[in-house]
């Protein structure tokens, strides 16, 4: 997960920077205000020993930022307004504020022109198509490398305990809401009897799990499980044949037998022989 977060941030570095810069400038501003407060606090305890009109460094920053009239000369910009005793000064607009206002306006106009009056920009749906294309490519490269490419044609049955345990785990987290704790069936059919709606055997089960039975409520799990995981859970399901759990749901579908001489439950043994 860590790596993915990092990736995620890295991909978006351009706007990430943007936020950081603005955040830092914002914090700086607060810092200046805080420093100023601190200064006046200190001054209250230790009266400043400075000559008239001498400016400290912070005063300089503050006044260059706000371009404000010093408090002792406030009278000069005090307007003759008086509203219920409230008076108004006429300080200059803080230069940084004016600059920020202009900057945002220019940025806004630039953005509008770039995205809506030129052909170079990508709007939401172009972005989406790019994203999907990149993902598809990455995925196929990865699967190729991992040898994780089983499909319903090439799939084989797992019979080793480790893979079956994995399969059981996948079953418990994903399938029990519809098929029951022991695959005895509830909303979905009983998976332990010999009756199958869409065919038994590893290949059919793999296919049903992978593509789902849309319209009847079976999800297409290929979006959430890897081919190998589908292979594991399908193998686990097939291993439950004949387990005859309590409260098994009544039969649905046809008796399934593979076109071999052996009956369905025994295909497990067949696999082990290989």
């Amino acid at each position: 997960m860590q790596i993915h977060i990092l990736n995620f941030v890295l991909i978006n570095i351009s706007f990430g920077d943007w936020i950081l810069i603005s955040l830092i400038s914002f914090l700086l501003l607060i810092l200046i205000v805080l420093l100023n407060t601190l200064k006046s606090l200190v001054h209250e305890i230790v009266p400043p020993i400075k000559k008239e009109n001498e400016k400290t460094f912070i005063d300089a920053i503050e006044s260059s930022l706000t371009n404000a009239m010093p408090i002792d000369r406030e009278e000069e910009i005090l307007l003759d307004h008086n509203y219920d005793g409230i008076k108004e000064l006429d300080n200059h607009l803080p230069p940084w504020w004016v600059a920020m206002f202009y900057a945002t306006i220019i940025w806004a106009i630039g953005y509008l022109i770039y995205f809506h009056f030129s052909d170079s920009a990508k709007l939401s749906l172009d972005e989406y198509n790019d994203e999907m294309a990149i993902a598809a490519k990455e995925k196929s490269v990865f699967l190729e490398k991992e040898g994780n490419k089983v499909n319903e044609e090439t799939v084989t049955l797992f019979s080793d305990q480790e893979n079956l345990n994995q399969g059981k785990e996948i079953f418990t987290t994903n399938c029990t809401p519809c098929h029951g704790q022991s695959a005895e069936g509830s909303v979905g059919p009983n998976l332990t009897d010999i009756y199958w709606l869409h065919g038994g055997g590893i290949k059919n089960i793999f296919k049903t799990v992978k593509y789902g039975i849309l319209g009847k409520g079976m999800t297409n799990w290929e979006t959430q499980l890897t081919p190998k995981q589908i292979q594991q859970v399908s193998s686990y399901v097939w291993s439950l044949q004949g387990s005859n759990p309590l409260n098994g749901k009544e039969k649905q579908g046809e008796v399934y037998s593979e076109n071999t001489n052996e009956i369905a439950p025994d295909s497990l043994k067949m696999q082990t022989k290989k």
Partner: protein
């Protein structure tokens, strides 16, 4: 010149102050309850009235319209009289305004918990209450302008500019957003549909923040800060430029709530760039507020009133900086639908509105009752626990929002989604719990304030009518060459009103009109058909239960969303949605394609899930809806509903309203039949059947095209 004597009406101010205190506690308490429900869903006690989907609108309405609304009227009624040197225009109107507003609040509370709602966020109230709000707002307007017109002060102070802009803009927003077609006394449909409804709604919703929570409070800040600090306002020219820029730019920003949705790209862009341009005008208010305290910092350390106000202004600055950041499309792609947004609004609500109101109350109550505050110590305690409460509220939610977003978007190397939706819900549960702790601290602070103020009130006595005197305004004003040009409009309230209206109308017109008139903005899809009568009834139950307070219905064009939910949502899919139900947060997963390829589930799954979500999804925080299985669907209004839809242009065949119930029964029977085959015995006339029909229909129409 002869002095005229007159008196200020303090009693009405006192009434609004009491109402503010009362509703603040109620609103926050409801908020605390629903925040706890997200940790312990069973806290709703299994009663329909107290489920999350119904209480959340109650919380937001109580805070915005009851707490802040009364707080705003308190501030305006006190300051306006003094700034105009005149008593309120008419005492009877003041009383009608006060009692009418309280009646609206009570009516709102009763209807919302009963599930009577229009389904539009922050505009949930049904049409009779909407009309009442309009009437009371007009009463307020007459009183406001009546007072201004008989003023004894030539020029209008900046606070009054903000009050005027508030009045006229809220009137415009409320009326335009509330166009709805009544079906019964308690049920109406939004006149607009789908994308258009969404645009109007968020144009309203965003500007409710701007002109209900911000501009009146800026006006209040401009009066009470200089008063409490006894300092002149920092910069008159800053007031002018930030006032006009703020009201002009704010109105455009609504579409930033709809980034990456089916709203046309050009409108999204406008929403985003105007939000960015808003930073400076918003900060103009912050600067003018904070720098007014220049030279009074020693007082800030001493005086709890000023402390509250400083934090309020700082929170305002933070929220108005964060808002534009969240409007940047690539940031919004991460933050939208998560609790980040909830954290953001609470910086504004708890920090800006809450703390400013508290500051004003601590200043005003002793003044009204001619005494000293009962306990400064308690006020300081309130200040600290409130500040910590805000921090403990927002930090966990920022973390939750960020976590959830990253988990939603995380893919495995195999190209699969790494997390189920449910696992993101259980992951953030501890942060929800922390948030509730922060909220309780804030509430404790407010209760301490209540105690402190009641004690103060007991110490003093109210001066109901405060004598004052001032010379009347006579003759024409002779302007001086040294006058600032802006003084011209400050003498002319009507022109100020008209100019404000023009300023706020421009952005609204440019965004709304093309979306309604230009066809290419909403490309239609031939296979999208009106809902069947049963689905329509189910949809209305979805609205009634407030499902959209947790579920969005708008899939954005991102891989992480189309992989999870299916094809991204298209404008043409919503043309019959009165009202739109896109939602704004995903406490639960998106449901726009609940009936589609990826999410389709058996009827029985839905039945079991709605009866007891935890049985299907362990750890789910969705409320159980057992009453849907018991209550009969009311089909007596089906015909009226179809007729209303036809009136709004939904193409049902002529005379369909008369036979709609036959179709409804037929569809209901087939669902009940299917459930029966899965060992679920339920009569076909129960409400759950309609809900299932609606959920199964969601998002399926575009697939028929193939």
């Amino acid at each position: 010149m002869a002095l005229e004597t007159f008196s200020y009406d303090n009693k009405i101010v006192k009434n609004f102050a009491y109402a503010t205190m009362l509703w603040s506690i109620v609103g926050m308490l409801v908020g605390l309850i629903i925040s706890l429900q997200l940790v312990f869903p069973s806290l709703n006690l299994g009663i329909a009235c107290t489920t999350f989907g119904r209480l959340r609108p109650l919380h937001t309405n109580a805070i915005i319209f009851a707490f802040v609304g009364n707080g705003m009227f308190m501030g305006i009624y006190y300051s306006l009289q003094r700034l105009c040197k005149a008593r309120m225009f008419n005492d009877t109107l003041s009383k009608i305004h006060f009692w009418g507003w309280q009646f609206i609040i009570v009516a709102a509370a009763l209807t919302l918990v009963s599930g009577i709602t229009s389904g539009k966020e922050y505009a949930e109230l049904e049409w009779p209450i909407d009309i009442l709000i309009t009437l009371i707002w007009v009463v307020f307007g007459i009183n406001l302008f009546g007072t201004i017109l008989k003023r004894r002060e030539r020029h209008l102070y900046v606070a009054i500019w903000f009050y005027i802009a508030t009045w006229v803009t809220v009137a415009m927003l409320h009326i335009i957003n509330s166009f709805e077609l009544p079906v019964t006394f308690f049920k109406s449909y939004s006149w607009y549909a789908g994308v258009q409804d969404a645009l109007v709604q968020w144009w309203y919703g965003h500007n409710a923040v701007a002109f209900f929570l911000t501009t009146p409070y800026l006006g209040i800040m401009y009066y009470f800060i200089p008063k409490a600090a006894n300092r002149p306002v920092y910069s008159y020219r800053l007031s002018i430029i930030h006032f006009w820029a703020l009201i002009f730019l704010y109105i455009w920003a609504g579409p930033h709530h709809l980034l990456y949705t089916a709203l046309p790209d050009w409108a999204q862009t406008l929403g985003m760039i105007f939000s960015i341009m808003l930073i400076a005008p918003s900060w103009g208010g912050m600067i003018n507020g904070l720098l007014t305290l220049r030279g009074a910092w020693d007082k800030v350390r001493e005086n709890p009133v000023l402390k509250f106000m400083v934090v309020a202004i700082t929170a305002y600055g933070m929220a108005t900086f964060e808002g534009p950041m969240l409007s940047i499309k690539s940031v919004n792609a991460i933050s939208h639908y998560t609790d980040w947004t909830i954290a953001h609004v609470h910086v504004g609500a708890l920090g800006w509105n809450g703390f400013l109101t508290f500051g004003v109350l601590y200043w005003l109550i002793p003044v009204l009752f001619r005494t000293e505050l009962y306990s400064k110590k308690l006020a300081n305690f309130h200040f600290w626990i409130g500040t910590l409460g805000i921090i403990f509220y927002v930090l966990p939610l920022y973390w939750a929002g960020f976590t959830q977003s990253l988990m939603w978007k995380e893919f495995t190397a195999e190209g699969q989604l790494a997390n189920t939706f449910l696992s993101t819900v259980t992951r953030i549960a501890p942060m929800y719990a922390m948030r509730s702790i922060g909220g309780s601290m804030y509430l404790v602070g407010a209760l301490v304030m209540l105690y402190n103020l009641i004690k103060t009130i007991q110490l003093g006595s109210l001066l109901e009518n405060e004598e004052s005197s001032a010379p009347a305004l006579v003759g024409e004003y002779t302007s001086h060459s040294t006058d600032h040009w802006h003084r011209w409009i400050e003498r002319r309230p009507i022109q100020l009103l008209v100019f404000s209206l023009i300023m706020v109308a421009i952005g609204g017109i440019i965004e709304l009109v093309p979306t309604f008139l230009v066809k290419s903005n909403i490309p239609t899809i031939a296979s999208v058909k009106p809902y069947t009568p049963l689905e329509l009834q189910g949809r209305d139950i979805y609205v009634r239960e407030g499902c959209s307070n947790c579920h969005s219905q708008m899939i954005r064009p991102f891989r992480s969303e189309t992989e999870r939910y299916g094809e991204y949502s298209k404008a043409g899919e919503f043309v019959y949605d009165h009202p739109f139900l896109w939602g704004s947060k995903r406490t639960g997963p998106d449901l726009q394609r609940e009936g589609g390829d990826k999410l389709k589930k058996p009827n029985a799954w839905h039945f079991n899930h709605m009866r007891d979500p935890q049985s299907i999804s362990p750890g789910s925080i969705m409320p159980a809806y057992p009453w849907l299985m018991d209550d009969n669907l009311d089909t007596s209004n089906t015909g009226a509903k179809i007729r209303a839809m036809i009136k709004m242009g939904v193409p049902y065949p002529d005379g369909y309203d008369k036979i709609a119930n036959q179709d409804l029964m037929h569809q209901a029977d087939s669902i009940a039949q299917d459930l029966k085959q899965n060992q679920i015995k339920v009569m076909s006339n129960k409400e759950i059947i309609a809900v299932i029909a609606y959920l199964q229909r969601l998002g399926t129409d575009i697939y028929k095209e193939k």
